[in-house]
Every structure is written in structure tokens, then in C-alpha cells.
Subunit: 266 residues, 2 copies
């Protein structure tokens, strides 16, 4: 059985590659011959597409078609070591929104790990997180009440997502939540790369009184595949010092309090 989207037959080359990727992500595999039939191009062109996608690490070519790339696409450990000054500046500004005695819901992610590391000790904070790395970090520093969200860990995310995690988040209540931002756009709100991830972030936001989105420049105005929530559920946005002025006012005019991090030394 071969799915044929109405417009598959006359797609632009780049558009065709996107559609191939989309099929790959939903089915886990694509067959060159089937794609050639669906897009009405020769298998040679399909092979060229797959070659390019593979060069970008977006698929793994195999005899007859392509599969999803091996899960080891995750240099998570490596990413974590990037203690960039920019993320620390963002984290310092984000932490200024936290008040003593509050309960925080902190998502997985390197930016959020920086925030957790910047939290004040001895402020009687309770932190709920789905990331073992963040939990560990806070345990080492002592002085925090830490609650762990259980479930299956997604290695690409570095934390738990999925039904079990969502169910647990629904049973807690937080003052502030820090959903990791994959993309945020003034018109369409907050976005995630992965479906499960987006559902989890949404649950986080619904379990919190206020939401703080901390976004590096590359995430501003971007849009990803799965919507997490409307912008109206976001009360605070923390951006880098270098963030575009127009982008900042776009959020401010929609009722989001925009906080600008200090300029970094470097």
C-alpha cells in the first residue's frame, strides 16, 4: 500500500526531499522504487535525494531505500559541556524570576540545566524535573527538594516523556515552569520537534501558574513541527542580549513580559 498525497506528483526538488523525510519519520523507512512511483520521477532522482539527506545525517541509506538514522545521533554528553557564556547569562536572568519557597517545573535540556545550576541554594525551592541530569545537579548542590518525573527516558531529549511522564506531571502543581523551547513564534506560540515532547511540555504548562520560556536567538521566530501551546499561556520570555529588537516588541505587544539577558563579556 502506497500513500499518495494529491500533490506528490509535481513537487519541487527540495519540496520532494521534505516529503521524503516526512514519510521516513512516519513510517521509519522509505523504498526508492515506491518514492519514484509516488513522485513520478526516476529512481535516479530519488537516489540523489536520499544521498543528500544522508549527507545531512537525516536518513541512513540502505540497499533498496533508506531508514531512520541510528539513534546515536545524540552527542548529548558533548552538548552538555558547552557551558557557553551566553547560556549562563540567559540562566542568570531567568533565575531572577524565581522567588523563595516556590515550586519549579524544569524540563530537560542544556539551557534548563544551566538554569538549574544558577538557582539559589537555601531559598527553600522545590524542583520537579524529568531530567536525571538536572536532578543529579541539584542533589549535588544540596538544599533543594527534588521530585523526579518517571517514565521511559528518550535518549535524544535526555529526560522522560510519554504517557507515564505526562500522567505524573498532571498530579503536581508548580508556581513556575520552564519548558525547554525548541522554537517560539509571536504569532503561533511555542513549538517542539517531537510529538511526545510537545505533549509533555503542554502538560507542564498546564500544571503551572506561570510559564517562563528561555530562548536562544536561533529559536526566536522559528517554528517546529508540533505545537506545544498558544503564546497566551506564556507569561515570561527570556532572550539574549543580542535578540532582535523587532522580535522582542512582537512578543511584548502580545502581553508577554520580555526579559533581556546581560551582554556577555566575549
Amino acid at each position: 500500500m502506497v500513500k499518495v498525497t494529491p500533490a506528490d506528483n509535481n513537487a519541487l526538488p527540495e519540496e520532494r526531499q521534505q516529503r521524503i523525510l516526512s514519510r521516513l519519520r512516519s513510517d521509519g523507512r522509505v523504498v526508492a522504487a515506491e518514492l519514484a512511483l509516488a513522485f513520478e520521477v526516476s529512481e535516479d532522482s530519488i537516489r540523489r535525494d536520499l544521498r543528500e539527506l544522508a549527507a545531512q545525517g537525516l536518513c541512513k541509506r540502505v540497499y533498496g531505500g533508506a531508514l531512520l538514522p541510528a539513534v546515536t545521533l545524540t552527542p548529548l554528553k558533548q552538548r552538555r559541556t558547552e557551558h557557553s557564556a551566553r547560556k549562563e547569562a540567559l540562566a542568570r536572568k531567568a533565575v531572577s524570576l524565581v522567588q523563595a519557597g516556590q515550586t519549579l517545573l524544569i524540563d530537560a535540556g542544556t539551557t534548563n540545566a544551566a538554569i538549574a545550576a544558577a538557582l539559589p541554594r537555601e531559598a527553600g525551592l522545590t524542583v520537579i524535573t524529568n531530567a536525571p541530569h538536572i536532578a543529579q545537579l541539584l542533589l549535588d548542590r544540596e538544599g533543594f527538594e527534588v521530585l523526579l518525573i518517571g517514565g521511559r527516558i528518550d535518549t535524544a531529549i535526555g529526560g522522560t516523556v510519554g504517557a507515564q511522564a505526562v500522567e505524573q506531571v498532571r498530579r503536581v502543581r508548580a508556581d513556575l515552569c520552564f519548558p525547554g523551547a525548541c522554537a517560539i513564534d509571536a504569532a503561533h506560540g511555542l513549538w517542539g520537534f517531537d510529538s511526545e515532547e510537545a505533549l509533555f511540555k503542554r502538560a507542564m504548562i498546564e500544571a503551572s501558574d506561570e510559564t517562563v520560556v528561555v530562548a536562544t536567538d536561533d529559536k526566536l521566530g522559528a517554528v517546529a513541527a508540533h505545537q506545544v501551546s498558544e503564546l497566551s499561556r506564556v507569561q515570561h520570555l527570556v532572550v539574549e542580549h543580542s535578540a532582535d529588537r523587532a522580535a522582542r516588541t512582537a512578543f511584548t505587544s502580545r502581553g508577554v513580559a520580555v526579559h533581556r539577558a546581560e551582554a556577555t563579556a566575549g
Copy 2:
């Protein structure tokens, strides 16, 4: 009964190998003739697949099909770790009880962290743990399926205990469990220092087919405040090389398989 995924019949060659591996991991064994039928290829092709998988150490070929490979101990790499040589020796012996494809329930604790660090990669192991430190350790090494037990983290224990954690453990099933031992006594069984901790360990044992207690010398024959379980629920006991002979036979005579770690170099 032979499971047949809808698309098994026309899988790409490499995809077919992945599916074979997947079957192997879930069933523990595969039969060449069945695979040939399911994938609609000749047994020759299946044999070629199994040969390749075996060459990568991902399966063990036997007459008629293939089995999961025997667990190969991780080469003793002299990495700088906080674990003492004694704990590493204990961990190596404990890991030898693990078979490829199994699901393990691992409690918090430094000894258990050493065990987690000694687990073989690429053996298709699923690890369920209540300790963020252990989860983090396995995520960094990659190649493991990790499930996190959520709940409030007890800072003294370094992992989650309490009602929520117990509830989650009740919903999983493991082949082997490693409850951290506070004290173990031939007459009275396994003991914990803390009430909540003991309840959690009991839940772990009840969720597992077999229980392995790994005990340093100081814990042998000791008794603590809260009983975790009778000795009858413990199938394996791993002790140090230096463990008292009388203490060892006391456990052996009660039906517990006692495994003695190698003598440490230092």
C-alpha cells in the same frame, strides 16, 4: 505462535536484520525457518543475516536459528572512577549474573552505581532505576533502554522512594533486581535503615523474577531497623572475596546461591 508485523514480508535487507534483532531481543531466540516464512525469503538469506549479526556480536548462532549472545564482561578499563577496587570487583561478579536482553531493576546506592557502570553495552538491556545518578550514567554510555522511577527524591538515599515510587515499581516487571543492601542476615533476611526505603526495596523484589543482593563485608550478618524481605526471596548473594567462610555457608545452606568476587589486586 509467530508474530507477523504487517510489513515483514517486503522488508529491506538491512531493515530485515533489525527486525530479526528486535524479535531476538523480545523472545530471546529466533528460528531460521520461521524467519524465512515471515519475511518471505529463503532460509539462505536468513542464515546470511544471522551470520552478519553474529559477526557483530549481536546474536549467537545455534543449530536451527540464533539466541541472544552471552553477556561479555566489559573490559576492565582503568578509568578514573570514585569506585573502590573492592566495589568494582563486586560489580564485575554481579554483572556476570546478567544475561543479554534482560530487564533490570536497580536501586540507588554507590555499589549499584558500580554495577550499572559495569553493565555491558549493546546487550539490549533495559534498566529501571530510581536513582538519577545511575540513569545519567547509563545515558552517557548509550546503548541502554532506561526507565526512571519518579517521585520525591530522598537526598540521603540519592533516589526516589515513597508511595509514588512504590506505585510505579508495581507497574513494571523485571528479570533481575538489585536492591541496595543495608544489611543481610541468614536468619532474618534483608534489612533497610529507613522505613520508606525498606518498603520500596520490597516492592522492587516483588516486581522481579529474581533478586540479587550485593553486599560488602560490613553488611553481612548485620541487622537494621526495618525488614525488607525474608531470605527466601533472595536467589543470589554476591560477596567480597574476603567474606567470612562461615557466613557464606550460612546463606548457601538456606538455598541462596553465593557468588564470591575475585580478589582485588590492591
